[in-house]
């Protein structure tokens, strides 16, 4: 009995060992999932630059986006948002630096990357010779989209889009809806949206946000580029701010608002004593009146309180600035 038990134990050990070897073998076959377990970053950009001759596209851009993240990419027009996205999709080639999506190189493995990615371009036309449903079927066919018919109808219903209309008859907003639907039809692991709300009315915008939130809940990583701060604030957890082709700040939205910048407004009993407030971290200083000042503060709050405590103050407010003000602060 003991002998049988030890043999069974030995067999069980062998089985477990074999199972482990087999698992490693299977993982090595599925390179994509192996990479995902090694690195949690879906997007990883390192020192990416793009020049058009002497003209700057983007300079030394580095950032990473984690799996399942809703990432905001904000900056005004011409800051380099679309250029960065186009490099990521290998529509244009980087001058220097590198980037990986799903752990794969954006230049060498672009086809493989695009099979798991969906993209809503900021300003892209559709094929004029087609009707909406033809265009959407054509787009889905590249992903083996035979089963996409129901999804197309569901999304078209939600976005209030007539599938039988000819493409040239569509307004800018409706063309945008087609672009959004074509991206959402196949269930991608990463959604890249470049100014997706341009031309959409508020009702459809809110439906789009709900759709994106659902996709994100499903585990889809979302890279959301926009210059509309309110939508980024409402949707994204983390954000990168782009200015003149460079990333000037990348952080959690809450961190941008809570930890770093405070909007301070002080109403003095007498005239505002500027010199006493000469402490590190005061930026965007403005005198609202002879007695009142307002500024952004990113230094040590204790030091500020200490300084203010020796002055005669009528009113003091320290608040989280809205994202717009943080944004403007970085742009000054």
């Amino acid at each position: 009995m003991l002998n049988w038990s030890s043999r069974a134990d030995c067999n069980l050990q062998s089985l477990i060992w074999f199972q482990r070897v087999f698992k490693v073998f299977l993982e090595s076959l599925n390179t994509g999932s192996e990479i995902m377990t090694v690195s949690e970053n879906i997007i990883e950009i390192k020192h990416l630059s793009k020049y058009y001759g002497h003209a700057r596209g983007v300079e030394d851009v580095s950032l990473s986006v984690k799996q399942g993240e809703f990432f905001g990419f904000i900056g005004p027009n011409g800051a380099g948002k679309s250029t960065t996205i186009r490099i990521l999709l290998n529509l244009i080639f980087p001058t220097s630096g590198s980037a990986k999506i799903f752990g794969l190189d954006i230049v060498k493995d672009s086809k493989q990357i695009r099979s798991r990615l969906a993209y809503v371009p900021s300003d892209a036309n559709l094929y004029d010779t087609m009707r909406v449903h033809e265009f959407l079927r054509f787009g889905a066919a590249f992903y083996g989209g035979n089963k996409s018919e129901d999804r197309i109808r569901e999304l078209a219903g939600l976005m209030e889009l007539d599938l039988d209309r000819r493409i040239p008859e569509l307004s800018t907003g409706n063309k945008k809806k087609v672009n959004i639907i074509q991206a959402l039809v196949h269930h991608a692991d990463l959604l890249v949206l470049d100014e997706p709300t341009t031309g959409l009315d508020p009702l459809i915008q809110s439906r789009l946000f709900n759709l994106l939130a659902e996709e994100n809940k499903r585990g889809v990583t979302i890279f959301f580029s926009s210059h509309v701060l309110s939508e980024v604030q409402a949707l994204c957890r983390r954000v990168a701010i782009v200015k003149d082709g460079r990333i000037i700040k990348s952080d959690e939205i809450t961190a941008l608002r809570d930890k770093q910048l405070k909007k301070v407004r002080v109403l003095f009993s007498d005239e505002s004593p500027r010199q006493e407030l000469n402490i590190k971290g005061i930026e965007s200083f403005q005198a609202e009146s002879a007695k009142s000042i307002v500024f952004m503060f990113s230094g040590d709050i204790n030091e500020l309180i200490q300084r203010l405590s020796v002055l005669r103050i009528e009113n003091l407010s320290i608040e989280e600035p809205p994202l717009e003000e943080i944004f403007l602060h970085y742009y000054r």
Binding site: L91, I92, R114, D123, L126, T129, A141
Partner: protein, 269 residues
């Protein structure tokens, strides 16, 4: 090659292919239908033709006055204008625009964000353009043969006819490859139709000038039109290896170079 893109491009280009085929075939058939009348009024035409400068005759494709009165000679002269010139314009405009229109119509971002490589896009579009050029040449060859059979005055040799058809096809292919190169080189998203038509016309003009210059016209070899032997009435007329090799080798190299450039180029916006 990508089946989905090929199917879409086929439908997208079918109308233009049919239009060009109908126009060229109608021109060939209509012009050949005049051959009987040319023979009927041979004397009067001889008198008239003597008044026309030889330069104008050669520009129209007739190397010799007597070419007009031979079915094959008459056909060859028309073939220079209809298939060699117009066919080459069609090929070059088709191949350059089939690649560039994605960019100037701003559909490139949509197409290139699909799981399809640039190499596949290039191969698929080039293959479709190649098939269109093949189709145009086959249909023009059939219509030419039928019209020669219908309007001939006596028997004509089929071998020179087939050799000229082969040369014409190779010339069209070469201009097609040149169109691909233009698409690979261009750095602004805009149609290049006028440039392509202009280039073909300039090269055709060079060929015509060189025909007028006789022995001194070697500079004409700069133009691929000159590489086609159009002297179909010459008894020793046959397919020459160097000409076929030159066309095929250059076409192959141009396609290779264009593919390389296309794969390495930023999309134009």
């Amino acid at each position: 090659m990508n089946r989905i893109l090929f199917h879409m491009e086929f439908r997208r280009n079918a109308r233009s292919l049919i239009l060009w085929s109908v126009i060229i075939c109608a021109l060939i058939f209509f012009t050949m239908s005049l051959f009987r009348s040319v023979l009927e009024y041979q004397q009067q035409i001889m008198g008239m033709v003597k008044l026309v400068p030889m330069a104008a005759m050669k520009a129209r494709g007739f190397g010799n006055i007597n070419d007009i009165f031979s079915g094959l000679g008459f056909y060859a002269a028309n073939n220079i204008v209809y298939m060699m010139l117009l066919g080459s314009i069609y090929s070059m405009v088709l191949t350059s625009n089939i690649l560039l229109k994605e960019e100037y119509n701003k559909t490139a971002e949509f197409l290139m964000s699909r799981p399809i490589s640039r190499g596949e896009i290039f191969a698929t579009k080039s293959a479709l353009a190649f098939l269109n050029v093949v189709f145009l040449n086959i249909i023009a060859c059939l219509v030419s043969f039928i019209s020669l059979e219908v309007f001939k005055s006596g028997d004509f040799r089929i071998q020179p006819f087939m050799v000229l058809t082969l040369y014409t096809f190779l010339l069209n292919l070469l201009f097609g490859a040149l169109g691909l190169l233009v698409a690979g080189l261009i750095r602004r998203a805009r149609p290049v139709t006028f440039f392509c038509v202009g280039l073909v016309l300039v090269l055709y003009f060079l060929f015509t000038i060189s025909r007028l210059s006789g022995v001194k016209g070697y500079f004409g070899y700069v133009s691929p039109f000159k590489w086609v032997n159009v002297e179909v009435l010459n008894p020793s007329y046959s397919a020459e290896f160097w000409r076929i090799f030159l066309f095929l080798a250059l076409t192959f190299l141009l396609v290779l170079l264009s593919g390389f450039l296309y794969r390495k180029k930023d999309i134009l916006t």
